[in-house]
């Protein structure tokens, strides 16, 4: 019988796992994992969707642990709320709630996919293990590096050379972006060393507040940081997506034909001749619902 390990050693070994953050991570991380697996394993789409909701909740908690409060909220409200409702709505709309009984034509793919997944997980984990220089947080939860990226972004680099994104010379000192509070630090007098110049008011926020709505907003709309353009581009993307989904799910009028959809049109006509004939003006999607 091997001798009992020294209690002090055990304590030293176990204690780190008993920190509150660690315990929270273990709990919700495990929960997220289990619900994810359950989601894949369940054959009933509705249950899968519900498990995904649970999974999203778990991940949202992890976001909180990572001080990403805004994202956690968005995760719960938008993802677990709106998007999953949309999923459920479509499942019910299309009457897909029952498990699929048809024969799998690619039966061999299932084990191969599972095997491949295992290999992928293994490889990714190994790459994490193999990385010996992962950054760590100190006891106060401070990251070891500055909040403002040390390497200037492209835009900053240009401005550092006196070139504005529009190609115009940038007047120095840079006027601070208005609004948003944050101490209202005045522009430093010219001649100060550059690294002491406050790059952004968002940078003045403590770590914990970076992920709040205010922190996100300050960072997102800060013209010195590169997020403004992607943000606007995303808004256009969403607009296009809205239009696209409207066009795709719109009920077509009899005789109306979209270019390139003649086959679909034919199938539609064959499938729902009765519908169209009876209610020619019907524009609601999914007349069967």
């Amino acid at each position: 019988m091997p001798p009992l390990p020294d209690p002090e050693t055990v304590k030293q070994a176990v204690l780190p796992f008993l920190a509150p953050q660690v315990l929270l991570f273990l709990t919700f991380g495990f929960g997220a994992l289990v619900t994810a697996i359950a989601m894949v394993l369940h054959t009933n789409p509705i249950r899968s969707a519900l498990f995904l909701v649970l999974n999203l909740f778990g991940v949202a908690v992890l976001y909180l642990l990572l001080h990403a409060y805004f994202l956690a909220a968005v995760q719960v409200i938008v993802y677990a709320g709106a998007i999953m409702v949309l999923f459920l709505f479509v499942i019910m709309l299309l009457n897909l709630g029952s498990p699929d009984r048809t024969k799998d034509v690619l039966r061999w793919q299932q084990p191969v996919a599972v095997g491949g997944g295992l290999v992928l997980a293994l490889v990714l984990s190994v790459s994490v293990f193999a990385t010996q220089s992962l950054p760590r947080l100190d006891a106060q939860g401070k990251a070891p590096v500055r909040l403002v990226p040390t390497a200037p972004t492209g835009m900053q680099a240009m401005e550092a050379q006196g070139i504005s994104p529009e190609g115009m010379p940038v007047p120095t000192p840079v006027p601070a972006p208005g609004g948003g509070g944050g101490g209202g630090a005045a522009s430093p007098p010219p001649g100060l060393p550059e690294e002491e110049e406050p790059v952004s008011k968002a940078a003045d926020l403590p770590v914990e507040e970076q992920g709040t709505v205010r922190g996100i907003g300050l960072n997102l709309y800060d013209p010195r940081q590169p997020w403004l353009f992607p943000f606007e581009a995303t808004s256009i993307l969403l607009l296009v997506a809205v239009l696209g989904s409207v066009v795709l799910s719109k009920r077509r009028m009899p005789g109306e034909s979209l270019a390139g959809s003649r086959a679909a049109e034919a199938g539609l006509a064959a499938a729902s001749t009765a519908d169209s004939a009876v209610v020619p003006g019907e524009t609601l999607p999914g007349g069967k619902a």
Binding site: L52, I83, L124, L134, L237, A241
Partner: protein, 116 residues
Amino acid sequence: MEPIDPALNPLIPANGQVPLSWYLILSAILFTVGTVGVLVKRNPIVIFMCVELMLNAVNLALIAFGRYLGDIGGQMIAIFVMAVAAAEVAVGLGILISIFRSRESINVDEVNLMQG
């Protein structure tokens, strides 16, 4: 970045903080689960949900990196990922409805027009 203490195993929690590697591994596993789901599921809605799971896993990794590197960029990109995911769901579900209307079924095994 401060010098690394080689004695300190990055897999063990220190300073009462969860090590970054845990987040990454969790993210990797969730991603893999989503991947396998995409590959084995035949219901397109569930496939979509698995894609959402994969995106979530990536978001987790992004946010964790941002936190541990002290860079807000991780969260920013996660926001964009969410927006793209929402757009994808909107369009994808629209396509599903369209397919269902024309075929009375959305079984992915019946959609093999790409076969040569």
